[in-house]
Amino acid sequence: MHSPDDAPDSLPRRTFLRIAGLTGAGWIVGTAGLTLAESVAGKLFMPVNDRLDALLLNPQKLIPEFPVSAIEPAALIENTFRFIPRIDRAAFRLTIDGAVNQPLSLDLASIQQMPLTSMVIRHVCVEGWAAIVQWGGIRLRDLIQLAQPKADVRYVYIQSADGYYESWDLASALHPQTLLAYQMNGAPLPAKNGAPLRLASPIKLGYKQSKWVTGITLVSELSQQKGYWEDLGYEWFAGL
């Protein structure tokens, strides 16, 4: 029925080796070339993916939490881009400014007098690992409301004592589970985890959750600088 040429065994060894070699070389050259174009892929698809993230976010919906027994203290890895800043707790002030009617400068005692929210959530890192953590602190939305934001506010900048900077969309900043935390896993927040104040939220990747927060600035437009890692190429919205 078939001529001998039709048999699969007829692929000559030489031809096979040539095809295999070309495939391997094409793969290496191809991935190297496409790697050079990684920022193009990012520029083309990041706006689409950022928009998808914003669509998926329901600003009022609470993300399900975990029982205290599910906390994984050993799974949390501390990533720091420079150093752990030394902060004098007595002299510490958190400022809230920008497009607000009532700029604030708060010491730690007055922050700790505000209503405490505790949550056990999954902290997800861009690197792929995750850890279930308990965070206790004040809701960022309570603080923003105290400062009386102007009507055109759309973004929130967060400055840290070590020079790290971040920006969030307002809806995520106002989410009821976005906290400025001063407790972790039932104890006072350790310095390496961001004491005296850090961001904690189940709806953003870890690099959005600034440690050693000293300043909150409400704005209507994003500047060229969107965040330390974002300016190097990471996604800006980084929603979970």
Partner: protein, 169 residues
């Protein structure tokens, strides 16, 4: 998807964490974590939309009735003396089983990409580690499938079948 996925894997290997095995740099896509993520989350659109078109096509044209493994293939494997028919049965088993694997890759990927909005996906797989393992295991599965599938296609239909897939007859 595979090469940029392994680039992301290297940022924190599923097995062993930072001390775990890292894939060699050559042949990976993205150059660093953000680059790997850019390609992965660009390619995910083509991957998922392709799966969607395929699903619509198979359903709309009613090809699902004859395309996948059926009782006749199992019967052929048990009874047929015709070697080609038996290879064809294996071929259809492989072809059918890759579809749930691809869907699993997509589902576990969405669970890892948006674990807060789709927390039920993470719960479905058990926990975070299980989710990562399943997503990763689709890589060797797809590679093995590609090899076995090509080999079975050659065995079952020879070059005429392969040509019919890629060339106008």
């Amino acid at each position: 998807m595979l090469t940029s996925g392994l680039q992301i894997y290297n940022a924190n290997p599923v097995f062993g964490g930072r001390e775990g095995f890292h894939f060699p740099f050559v042949g990976l896509l993205g150059g660093w974590l953000a680059g790997g993520r850019h390609w992965h989350f660009a390619a995910m659109w083509f991957f998922s939309l392709n799966l969607l078109w395929y699903g619509v096509y198979v359903l709309a044209t009613q090809r699902w009735k004859h395309r996948y493994v059926g009782g006749n293939d199992i019967k052929a494997l048990q009874q047929s003396k015709n070697l080609k028919r038996r290879f064809y049965a294996w071929h259809r088993i492989a072809y059918t089983s890759i579809i749930p694997i691809l869907l699993l890759a997509l589902l576990s990927g969405i669970g890892m990409y948006k674990p807060a909005q789709f927390h039920w996906i993470v719960d479905f797989f058990g926990d975070w580690f299980a989710l990562r393992v399943v997503h990763f295991l689709t890589v060797p599965t797809v590679i093995v499938f590609a090899i076995v599938h090509s080999w079975l296609a050659l065995k079952a239909g020879g070059e005429r079948l392969v040509d019919s897939m890629f060339l106008e007859q």
